[in-house]
């Protein structure tokens, strides 16, 4: 068996004087789902943005299939093409139809013919249950449908790794379920996923492992049931207690 699909070692990220990530070590193996949890502002999004090369790390190494992608000589666009990303909000391009959103990358980046790109995009849209919305513009879709379309778009490059950044936190409660169901299906199909989430119940069901980010380091990581059910660290327990108080577990 080869090494992990994604491996972060000693990742440091500063914004001015603020040291957000202070040496993060996280691995994600092939077909594995890893959930990042942590308080707001703990750096979950920042870590995902570093992996996707939207931010330049200040120290440490991130490897994708063994290749050091933090090396300044790598072609960032090529690396990003191998990683699918869905953000919390503003994912879809509002001036393009759902179908055009999905076919954009294949056509523009990979030079796939329109017809061919549309055929595979329709298959993806069917997979996320949006085949009938292909021609619609994003503002005609519900929040949940928008996020499912964004997931379809993230899958279009057949990514090695899927990064999900709190994909349900901007949604009304009744729309959260349909998106989480889709993520669960993808996980079941063997997709390699690293996701930041506030949905502890979902993390426990779907994630193989959970990483608790705290004060710029990974305070605790391990099997989901253990970290969420019987945490070792006092800080993890405090964090989960607050979440339970807020009624989110």
């Amino acid at each position: 068996m080869s090494g992990p699909a994604l491996s972060c070692t000693g990742v440091v990220k500063r914004f001015g004087a603020l040291e957000v990530l202070r040496g993060i070590d996280v691995d994600v193996h092939e077909h594995e789902v890893v959930a990042l949890i942590g308080a707001s502002g703990s750096g979950k999004s920042t870590l995902l943005r570093c992996i996707n090369l939207l931010e330049v790390v200040d120290d440490g190494v991130i490897r994708l299939d063994g290749e050091d992608i933090t090396d300044p000589r790598v072609d960032a666009d090529r690396v990003r093409g191998r990683i699918g990303v869905v953000f919390q909000a503003y994912n879809l391009f509002p001036h393009l139809s759902v179908l055009d959103n999905v076919t954009l990358a294949p056509r523009v980046v990979h030079g796939v013919a329109r017809r061919e790109a549309q055929a595979s995009a329709m298959a993806l849209l069917a997979r996320v249950g949006l085949a009938d919305k292909a021609g619609a513009y994003p503002d005609r879709l519900s929040g949940g449908q928008q996020q499912r379309a964004a997931i379809a778009r993230a899958l279009v490059n057949a990514p090695r790794l899927l990064l999900l950044d709190e994909v349900t936190s901007a949604l009304d409660p009744e729309l959260v379920g349909e998106v989480l169901t889709l993520v669960r299906e993808l996980a079941g199909q063997g997709m390699t996923i690293l996701m930041a989430t506030h949905e502890m119940g979902f993390a426990r069901q779907v994630a193989d492992r959970v990483c608790f980010l705290d004060d710029g380091v990974v305070r605790e990581q391990g099997p989901a049931a253990q970290v969420l059910g019987d945490p070792v660290e006092a800080r993890t327990r405090q964090f989960l207690a607050r979440i339970i108080e807020a009624g989110r577990l």
Binding site: N91, P138, D139
Partner: protein
């Protein structure tokens, strides 16, 4: 669906009442408008100076005599406008795009674009018209056109492109950063992200202010008259001097207004549409 649905007596009564109120409102509006217009008309026409005013500003004979030349002059304004309407957005967009470039290589380009917008937004158009319109032809450089009109167009384009560049830049910056991040995440390059994702959204958003600038441009093309190009304004000036009467100016002014009205309505419509779209926009 021509058959009227069955409506309760109560509802029929309500509707009859509402119709009555509506008729009354229309009547009141009509009466008050008529009364107002009559008073205004009487006040103006009965005032002691009115015959002289009418003769000086609204003289039908002078209007008839001067209209052909003024209209001919307006044709020059329209052609200048057409050139500006194409050149200004192109240059404005280019300057705006240059200002948003990142990376140390583009530092001089960014600075140049910033200085350009600052200088040409600040300098009065009339000074620029004199400088470029009279100054450049006076150099008598080889291969450089000596037509003052051409250089007048250059001056207008320089000024308006600076304004429009700032409008575009505001539009570009108003596109949510996540949109760029999403595009880059898909593997699109900086240029592709700009061209396919950012600019189309930016242009849509700034369409109303851009149309407003176009309305302003429509009348500022009349400023080329200071370069003694015989446009509508200059023609009116000549006719006014000939007849010793101000009616030609009124005619020229009216023609400019007529030129501007469609664009103004278009701007209103674009604003309305943009507002509607914002309000219809999804929450995610």
């Amino acid at each position: 669906m021509t058959s009227t649905p069955v409506v309760s007596r109560l509802q029929q009564e309500r509707e009859a009442y509402r119709r009555g109120r509506a008729r009354r409102s229309t009547l009141v509006a009509l009466l008050s408008t008529t009364a107002f217009a009559t008073v205004l008309w009487l006040a103006v026409t009965r005032s002691p100076g009115w015959p002289r005013v009418q003769d000086f500003f609204f003289n039908v004979d002078v209007a008839r005599a001067s209209l052909p030349r003024i209209a001919e002059g307006l044709w020059l304004n329209v052609r200048v406008l057409a050139v500006c309407a194409v050149a200004v957005p192109v240059i404005g967009l280019a300057v705006a795009a240059l200002r948003t470039l990142r990376g140390p290589v583009f530092f001089p380009v960014r600075i140049l674009a910033a200085v350009y917008t600052d200088v040409f937004r600040g300098i009065p158009l009339i000074i620029l018209l004199y400088l470029v319109g009279f100054g450049v032809p006076a150099l008598r450089l080889q291969g450089v056109p000596i037509s003052t009109t051409v250089w007048g167009v250059v001056a207008i384009v320089l000024t308006y492109s600076a304004y429009v560049a700032e409008v575009f830049r505001a539009g570009i910056e108003s596109v949510h950063p996540s949109q760029r991040a999403a595009a880059r995440s898909l593997g699109l390059s900086y240029g592709q992200t700009m061209r396919i994702v950012v600019l189309p959204q930016a242009v849509r958003r700034v369409a109303p202010p851009l149309l407003n600038d176009f309305v302003a441009l429509q009348k500022d093309v009349g400023l080329i008259s200071v370069l003694s190009a015989v446009d509508a304004v200059r023609a009116a000036q000549i006719e006014a001097a000939d007849f010793f009467n101000f009616t030609p100016y009124v005619i020229a002014g009216l023609l400019f207004v007529l030129l501007a009205v469609p664009t103004a309505r278009l701007a209103d419509w674009a604003t309305l549409r943009a507002t509607r779209r914002e309000q219809a926009g999804g929450t995610v």
